[in-house]
């Protein structure tokens, strides 16, 4: 096991730079999730750590070793691919033992290690089968087994659950998490699904356009997003962002104008009169009231445990989550109160959080 650290890492494809000097530190035994929209560079970063992509500049360290120019095999990592990448012509046992066989390990030892991994993953009855005779979840487990038998310093996962159906995905999420608790191996996990990131990670790295937007624990990211991008990316349904301006600051209170509405909130350092701002409020921090945002109901989506309601507020959409089953129907006009203690303020120009 080892810590991984990425220092000022850049990646160019021809003249185009896709990763613009990233720094990430991953502690020994930590479960880190790289998350971001498509094309943000998360998979490229993972593949650079794996050694499948060349580093343009910067350093990658695993343990204390600089691994920039080492082959994937010499880095002592194991990778689980999105499509599982099982060898179709090998049995489950041969798939799992292939890397050990290449290392010329003793046959009995290989058998023992594969048997142990299969036991952990519940694959023992399937060792003689070929991948084509396995279900998606079982293939996924074989791919993990292939990683486990090597006992590597770092596990790398590249969107491993995106080919599974929704139910199995939730189940495998838990299994991967349990496996990590058991093995305590440093893990880097790539996903575009922020729920996967929230539920699995010790630490989330949010990437966007080849830059790190924010690094932190899932709840830190949720409660105090560093900028508008993270605010809108983390959380589902995502945070409501309403553009406005600061009208007046006096006596420690700032008055914000959001279209026809004014809101008063404790001021923050750096806030000036006339400044453009974005007010952020999570769907669960809205409630029905007699005064507040005047909104019109557009869509009501019951999930059973709660209802999601999409409202029209002036020119934009606002989503709210209610635990109570309010009898709302499309076309109704109601008022929403904001939970004043849970408001997020972002600078209108830079998008950065203000507090």
């Amino acid at each position: 096991m080892a810590e991984v650290s990425v220092k000022n890492l850049r990646k160019n494809y021809g003249a185009m730079e896709v990763i613009h000097g990233i720094d990430v530190d991953i502690a020994d035994g930590e479960f880190v999730v790289l998350v971001g929209p498509s094309g943000c560079g998360k998979s490229t970063l993972l593949r650079m750590i794996a050694g499948l992509e060349e580093v343009t500049s910067g350093d990658i360290l695993i343990g204390d070793r600089r691994v920039n120019h080492l082959s994937p095999n010499e880095r002592d990592i194991a990778m689980v691919f999105q499509s599982y990448a099982l060898y179709p012509h090998k049995t489950v046992e041969a798939n799992m033992g292939f890397s050990l066989k290449l290392r010329k390990m003793d046959k009995a030892e290989i058998k023992k290690r594969v048997a142990e991994a299969a036991e952990i993953l519940g694959l023992t009855p399937y060792l003689d089968r070929f991948p084509r005779a396995l279900s998606g979840g079982q293939r996924q487990r074989v791919a993990m087994g292939r990683a486990i038998v090597r006992d590597p310093q770092v596990f790398l996962f590249d969107e491993p659950l995106s080919n599974l159906d929704a139910k199995l995905r939730v189940q495998m999420r838990t299994e991967i998490r349990e496996l990590h608790l058991r093995l305590q191996t440093t893990t880097v996990y790539v996903t575009h699904d922020q729920i996967e990131a929230m539920t699995m990670a010790d630490k989330i790295v949010v990437l966007n356009g080849g830059n790190v937007e924010q690094v932190g624990s899932p709840l830190a990211l949720y409660d105090r997003p560093k900028n508008r991008f993270v605010a809108s990316f983390i959380g589902s349904p995502s945070m409501n962002l309403i553009d406005g301006t600061v009208r007046e600051i006096s006596g420690g209170q700032a008055t914000l104008v959001l279209g026809d509405l004014t809101v008063t909130t404790p001021t923050r350092p750096g806030l000036t009169e006339g400044q453009k701002i974005t007010l952020g409020v999570r769907p669960e921090h809205l409630s029905l009231s007699n005064a507040g945002l005047p909104v019109k109901v557009r869509v009501v989506e019951p999930t059973g445990s709660e209802i999601h309601v999409v409202f029209q507020f002036q020119a934009q959409e606002i989503t709210a989550i209610f635990r109570d089953r309010h009898p709302l129907s499309p076309g109704d006009t109601v008022h929403l109160a904001l939970d004043m203690g849970q408001l997020h303020l972002f600078d209108g120009a830079t998008g950065n959080r203000m507090e």
Partner: protein
């Protein structure tokens, strides 16, 4: 009439006839025999649909029956008769006579040599070319060049190689490139390569390998492209070197295609005739079965032994053909 017009006319009549046949036969079926109207509309549609495949297949079945199935039966009959006795039935006499002919056994031996070497070499070179040209910028140009001999007829290729193997008297300038190189490298005197027993078989095989490598390369190249890239990356992470990736990850995944290519070339090899006919005509111990058949049938005018050797070729091809079709269908699934 100008031959060009005759050719054009043939194409128009042939293609037009086919189109016309399918159009009108279907019209008659749908409009006259079983119109989808009236009391039995549903039953008529079912009947028309049951008959339609036969309309499409009919001409092909007739043509194949006439030009493939009937000749097999006729050849079998001829192989059991004797021309000199006015076509009288002689049982296995032709076969017995053939089995005592040294030339026949020479042809069988040579056919086996061809069978062992040509498919193996063509497939191996094809696979090598496919792998080496896979990721390079000028790979497609290289592939086109390697594929080009496929467009040359066997006789044309034979003529080209006859020039390569050509030998001129010692004091004259050599036009055969092989002798030119040989003399340049210190050879004593020009060699008439095609008359050197045993080795001349290999010189003939080179022609077919040269042609078939392109075929193998194209098919195997497509198969290599079909291998999921992630399995290769997984192997890299697992610590496989390029040779291990090729032999342990890539080749097993295209084994089905390799078998299809191999058997397809094997069938071509068993039928090989033109190259031997045009280059040595079976002299100097280069006889093969197809050329032996031609010799007996049309030069010696002995239809009995000629047909008997044709039957032998068919017996050798059939099992390989069955295996080939079986594997090709498995690949398609």
């Amino acid at each position: 009439m100008n031959p060009a017009f005759q050719g054009l006319l043939t194409i128009i009549i042939g293609v037009g006839g086919c189109v016309g046949y399918f159009y009108f036969s279907n019209q008659i079926l749908d409009k006259v025999l079983f119109p989808p109207r009236g009391k039995n509309a549903g039953r008529n549609i079912n009947r028309a649909n049951a008959i339609r495949p036969w309309l499409f297949m009919g001409p092909a079945i007739l043509a194949l029956g006439l030009y493939l199935a009937y000749p097999v039966v006729e050849t079998l009959r001829l192989s059991l008769t004797d021309r000199d006795q006015g076509g009288a039935f002689v049982g296995g006499a032709n076969y017995a006579q053939m089995f005592q002919d040294d030339k026949f056994w020479e042809a069988v031996r040579n056919n086996f040599l061809w069978l062992l070497i040509v498919p193996a070499a063509s497939t191996a070179f094809g696979l090598l070319a496919a792998q080496l040209t896979d990721r390079i910028r000028w790979g497609n140009i290289a592939k086109s060049l390697i594929f080009m001999p496929m467009a040359i007829s066997f006789v044309g290729a034979a003529v080209i190689f006859k020039l390569i193997y050509d030998a001129r008297p010692e004091d004259v300038q050599q036009i055969g490139i092989l002798n030119a190189v040989y003399l340049q490298l210190g050879g004593e005197s020009p060699v008439t390569w095609l008359t050197v027993p045993f080795w001349n078989n290999l010189f003939l095989m080179v022609v077919l390998i040269w042609i078939q490598t392109g075929f193998a390369m194209v098919i195997l190249s497509a198969a290599l492209r079909g291998i999921p890239e992630e399995t290769v990356e997984a192997a890299i992470v697992d610590g496989a070197n390029p040779f291990q990736i090729f032999f342990k990850i890539k080749m097993p995944q295209i084994s089905g295609t390799i078998v299809v290519v191999w058997t397809t070339i094997t069938i071509v090899v068993l039928k090989v005739f033109d190259i031997v006919f045009a280059m040595t005509n079976g002299q100097w111990e280069t006889q093969v079965l197809a050329n032996y058949m031609y010799d007996k049938m049309f030069r010696a005018n002995d239809w009995g032994v000629g047909s008997a050797s044709a039957m032998i070729i068919m017996l050798m091809v059939t099992p390989i053909l069955v295996w080939n079709v079986y594997n090709a269908r498995k690949e398609m699934r």
